[in-house]
Symmetry: C2
Subunit: 187 residues, 2 copies
DNA sequence: AATACTTTTTTACATAGGTTAAAAAATTAC
DNA sequence: GTAATTTTTTAACCTATGTAAAAAAGTATT
């Protein structure tokens, strides 16, 4: 709960009043390993901060699974389009480990944005960062072949390597697990 | 110039003072067909609104060209990460047609965000939309094969079809032009 | 330790899409 | 309207990666 506030203040310093208004809106939400945090077709009502644990954000398409992102400790996550537009999600969010989060409800988030300029600023920077991260992912998907993507994934997620299965890693890269096995065999 | 203001107000209504402060910061910038708007390694100093024309946002990698997006009339564009962090761009922006834009400088943009809560709100919504659009592109790239991507591209950009070459279309989809020709031949 | 379950690798085969080169078609310039 | 240039298509060949099924390795449970 305090970490949520700390990290939001790191995007841009919140005013004292904004911080005071924020705290009572926060709720602790815990999820068991394997538990679905947000289903397909369900509107994502919360912005989450992970205090502990790991989640994956994915969807099914033609019998295959694609993982958009993993989120772990000290990161915010939500189902972006579903949260900001309050529309049904195309994606599924599931806990890969027992996970503890600090969450804020959409209407509270929206209200704080309206009430406090400094909160709005942090929100802007938070979502801008999300846009930049997504752009980076598009570029990576374009210009790297599967072997490079795996290498990059390992570099950027070395702290998560023993927590994420090879099957999930393959789904993140966008290849079959067989292909990932072949890539690993070549080294 | 007035369209820039109109479209920014559509994200979220700006206060009267914000609108008044915004107008004198806007500059008209015109580019000839083929002219580079922002080079690689160059910091993108402006947020642009296209009054007329068409630009592509791309990069080179291993002798291939990848187009991240096309931008045309009544759309904002910038080199996202370069603009928001004022760091060198990895991408190139070039005019595909004679293009007229209304532009605002980063420092003016930043100042208006700080000064006017309502401007900050519009900025948040603008960048949030960019994040959602990028997420959608990631999903498309994952779950659609080249033929589907081409079909989707045509559906979503029918107004641009005769303005974008097949070579550029292929670079947007992430395939070679030869492959695109094959796809077209099959229909 | 033996059984069951899950994860990862291996093999065989099929297909999508890359590369290169050349031809054909369309567009632009003079 | 002919030549020059650019764009698009076609063909031949090759590689990466998909699918399916089986084997192997690893983990958990009693």
């Amino acid at each position: 709960m305090l970490d949520f506030i700390k990290y939001l203040n790191e995007f841009s310093q919140l005013s004292e009043e904004a911080n005071e208004d924020l705290l009572p809106k926060l709720r602790t939400k815990s999820f068991k390993k394997g538990q679905i945090i947000n289903k397909e077709e369900q509107v994502c009502k919360n912005l989450y901060f992970i205090d502990k644990g790991l989640v994956k954000h994915y969807y099914h398409h033609k019998d295959r699974v694609f993982i958009l992102r993993f989120f772990s400790e000290t990161n915010f996550f939500t189902v972006l389009d579903s949260f900001v537009n309050q529309t049904p999600s195309q994606f599924i969010t599931i806990a890969l480990e027992d996970t503890e989060t600090t969450a804020i409800d959409y209407s509270d988030f929206d209200e704080l944005c309206k009430k406090h300029h400094s909160f709005e600023t942090s929100a802007r920077k938070l979502f801008t960062m999300a846009a930049v991260v997504n752009l980076k992912r598009i570029k990576e998907m374009f210009d790297a072949d599967a072997a490079e993507l795996y290498k990059e994934f390992m570099n950027e997620n070395h702290h998560l390597l023993n927590r994420i299965s090879l099957g999930d890693t393959a789904s993140y890269i966008g290849i079959s697990q067989v292909t990932l096995s072949r890539i690993r065999a070549k080294k």
